[in-house]
């Protein structure tokens, strides 16, 4: 518990300094925003641009900047350590809660469709969140465990979706056959893309994967004959309950089980399907972490040269991480295709890659639970801001920057060792290295 210290009266020079700071902030804000916010351009009736002054908006922002600068300078000496205000007993209880949090979340996820059976909106939201949880867990293998900066993950999502769509449409195979094939195709794609570029360092790898993602999106948009171009592919077959379609006729799911038909059955099925797929991703990742390949991934993240010095083939190690991440991304893509019934290149932009990457980084340290919570938080926040659609992405960007400044290691700031002689002790984030050159 922090003792309340005696704060002597602040001298006038402090006040003056804070005022100066505020004034500086106000001037900077004026410089930044005078033209872009203070003046609004719009196309007038003649097609030419007309301007309109917005002094109020500008004034408000400059005033906010002044106050902000003043406050920051005034409270500069005191650190805003909120954690120190929390009593120790509460902190200890918090750790207990965290341990069971994962299980609680899982339990909630399992009963959610039953609890919110009538609420189509919540069901859809649940499916959306789980899709991103799976994508996050897939990318977690690449970025969180192996430490490879991948900014083009959406490419594998797209390959999975389009593979499924084209296979289902042209060959008429069932969902259960197309799904693993799409995953394998995405994994192959991952190996092909990864092979030439995985020896690149850090930022270069990031930008090359970004370029790949964009190339794939552009090709999908322009190769009309194969991929349907910007209109995408429609009429993708919906999934069936192991052969029984979810229609309202006699062969349908409802009739077979003697229930009344409602479209909700299909949605609930889709929900449990994505839940199962996500849990599969999770299970595989957790197991791999305790196998030599998973350990090699984490070692790779920390020090590649040390890895090579003990005989690990870092190229194949990186490729397997890339391929596994790609496979799960592809499977998620197939699910996406069958859930929507229609796909187009618009769903596979760079923003998607950025969002999934943000989820993984916010989750922290390759932690599965962290990624799940981060996905939930980010998408939940997105939904809450739905009315302010315009400002949504802006807030997302601001959140990304703020989170990196305040908590760059993410929500879960510890790493759990994969094996221990005695009791496994968590490793705090500060000790974990990141790609020592």
């Amino acid at each position: 518990m922090r003792e309340a210290a005696e704060t002597p009266a602040r001298p006038a020079s402090d006040l003056l300094g804070a005022l100066k700071s505020g004034a500086l902030a106000a001037i900077v804000a004026f410089g930044l925003f005078s033209l872009l916010i203070g003046v609004r351009t719009d196309q007038g009736p003649s097609g030419a641009l007309e301007i309109e002054l917005r002094p109020v908006a500008l004034g408000v922002i400059v005033a906010v900047a002044f106050v902000g600068g003043f406050v920051r300078a005034w409270f500069a000496g005191e650190s805003l350590d909120l954690a120190s205000y929390v009593p120790d007993q509460v902190k200890a209880a918090g750790n207990q809660i965290a341990r069971y949090f994962g299980l609680a979340l899982l339990a909630f996820a399992v009963i959610e469709p039953i609890a919110f059976y009538d609420n189509r909106y919540v069901l859809d939201l649940g499916i959306l969140v789980l899709t991103y949880v799976m994508l996050g867990w897939g990318l977690n293998i690449v970025v969180g465990l192996a430490g490879l900066l991948d900014l083009g993950y959406v490419a594998f999502y797209a390959v999975g979706a389009y593979s499924y769509a084209l296979l289902a449409q042209n060959f008429g195979w069932s969902f259960w056959i197309c799904l693993p094939i799409a995953g394998l195709l995405a994994a192959c794609w991952g190996v092909m893309l990864g092979f030439p570029v995985l020896r690149l360092r850090g930022d270069y790898l990031a930008i090359v994967t970004l370029a790949f993602g964009e190339i794939i999106r552009l090709v999908l948009t322009n190769w009309q004959s194969f991929t349907g171009g910007p209109n995408g592919i429609t009429g993708i077959p919906r999934p069936s309950f192991f052969g029984i379609p979810f229609t309202d006729d006699e062969n349908g799911f409802a009739a077979t089980f003697g229930l009344e038909f409602t479209p909700t059955y299909r949605i609930v099925f889709l929900y449990y399907l994505i839940l199962a797929l996500a849990l599969l991703t999770n299970w595989v990742t957790l197991r791999l972490r305790r196998l030599p390949i998973g350990r090699a991934w984490e070692a790779l993240r920390e020090d590649e040269i040390a890895c090579r010095s003990v005989g690990i083939n870092t190229t194949t190690t990186k490729l397997t991480a890339f391929a596994m991440g790609a496979m799960f991304g592809g499977i998620a893509g197939s699910f996406f295709a069958t859930r929507q019934g229609f796909i187009s290149p618009e769903s596979f932009t760079f923003s998607e890659s950025a969002l999934v990457l943000a989820i993984v980084v916010l989750g922290g340290m390759g932690s599965q639970l962290g990624v799940a919570v981060a996905a939930f938080a980010m998408l939940g926040a997105f939904e809450l801001f739905r009315e302010f659609a315009q400002y949504r992405m802006l807030v997302f960007g601001i959140a990304m920057v703020l989170i990196m400044i305040w908590r760059p290691r993410g929500l879960v700031a510890t790493r759990t060792p994969s094996v221990a002689l005695g009791k496994a002790k968590d490793v705090p984030a500060e000790i974990v290295a990141e790609a020592r050159q």
Partner: protein
């Protein structure tokens, strides 16, 4: 100088150039099997560069590096990739600036060193994923080996601590233990005694001698600490400015005027004068 006896490592006419800078110039020496060979010389002499060439982290400009196993298999190290040198030729190394995996526990560090045999046992992951017994046995054996080496370096109680948390001297010992977990035939130690006090250096000597005696590991050693070099080396190679200026037993090296001059920075003319006076 030809290599009599049973050389495990033969370096012939090795040169390493970085652009215009010649780091190593026509270096030839050999290390005998079962011997502890020390590579000494003032800072900047190129010793770590030699290590990097031997272990594949640098690609030599010119030269041949041959590693001969006891059963006759030879490897040309100047052509192999670094990880293959570790995996196939079984050459292990430690680093001047200690490269552990700091966020992983000491035990995990030692298990990673056994990656290759464990990967095979896990059927390249597939068998391991299915939880088959063959992998579980292999992992248990690997943990046993890790425990053995932890015990040898006296760090059993630190097995579950993050490697980055350990003090410097203990990190060095973990690095050596990790290198030994790869069952090397040649172990390259880069300044293992740096930062150790007298007692710790003596313990290091014991450890290295033990490794040589019990596991028949040949050792190549870069060191500045003369108590270590003189205490345990069988043979010493002296480098200065990338050139070999002497090779011989520790006692011979101790008294050679060129070596003394190199360390003390005496002018070449003074060395010649000294040699002339002594009658060399």
């Amino acid at each position: 100088m030809s290599a009599p006896g049973d050389p495990i490592l033969t370096v012939e006419h090795l040169s390493m150039r970085f652009g215009g800078l010649v780091a190593i110039d026509d270096l030839s020496f050999s290390a005998q099997r079962g011997h502890i060979t020390a590579l000494i010389g003032p800072n900047g002499a190129g010793k770590t560069t030699v290590f990097n060439c031997i272990t594949g982290f640098y690609h030599p400009s010119v030269g041949m590096i041959r590693l001969a196993h006891a059963d006759g298999t030879t490897y040309l190290l100047e052509r192999l990739l670094d990880f293959r040198i570790a995996k196939l030729a079984r050459v292990a190394r430690t680093f001047q600036n200690i490269r552990l995996f700091p966020g992983m526990t000491v035990l995990e560090n030692l298990l990673i060193a056994q990656h290759n045999p464990l990967m095979k046992a896990s059927g390249f992951t597939v068998l391991g994923l299915l939880g088959l017994a063959v992998y579980r046995h292999a992992e248990a054996a690997a943990i046993d080996k890790a425990k053995y080496w932890l015990d040898r370096v006296g760090l059993m109680r630190r097995a579950d601590d993050p490697a980055g948390d350990l003090p410097y001297g203990e990190q060095r010992r973990v690095e050596i233990a990790r290198a030994m977990c790869t069952d090397p035939v040649l172990l390259c130690l880069d300044e293992p005694a740096a930062g150790l006090n007298v007692r710790e250096s003596a313990e290091l000597n014991e450890l290295v001698l033990g490794m040589r005696a019990e596991h028949k590991t040949s050792i190549l050693l870069i060191e500045h600490d003369m108590s270590v070099v003189m205490g345990i080396s069988d043979r010493v190679v002296v480098l200065d400015y990338g050139v070999k200026i002497f090779e011989g037993t520790p006692n011979e090296v101790r008294n050679d005027p060129k070596v003394i001059a190199a360390y003390l920075g005496v002018e070449d003319e003074e060395v010649e004068q000294a040699e002339a006076e002594v009658g060399l």
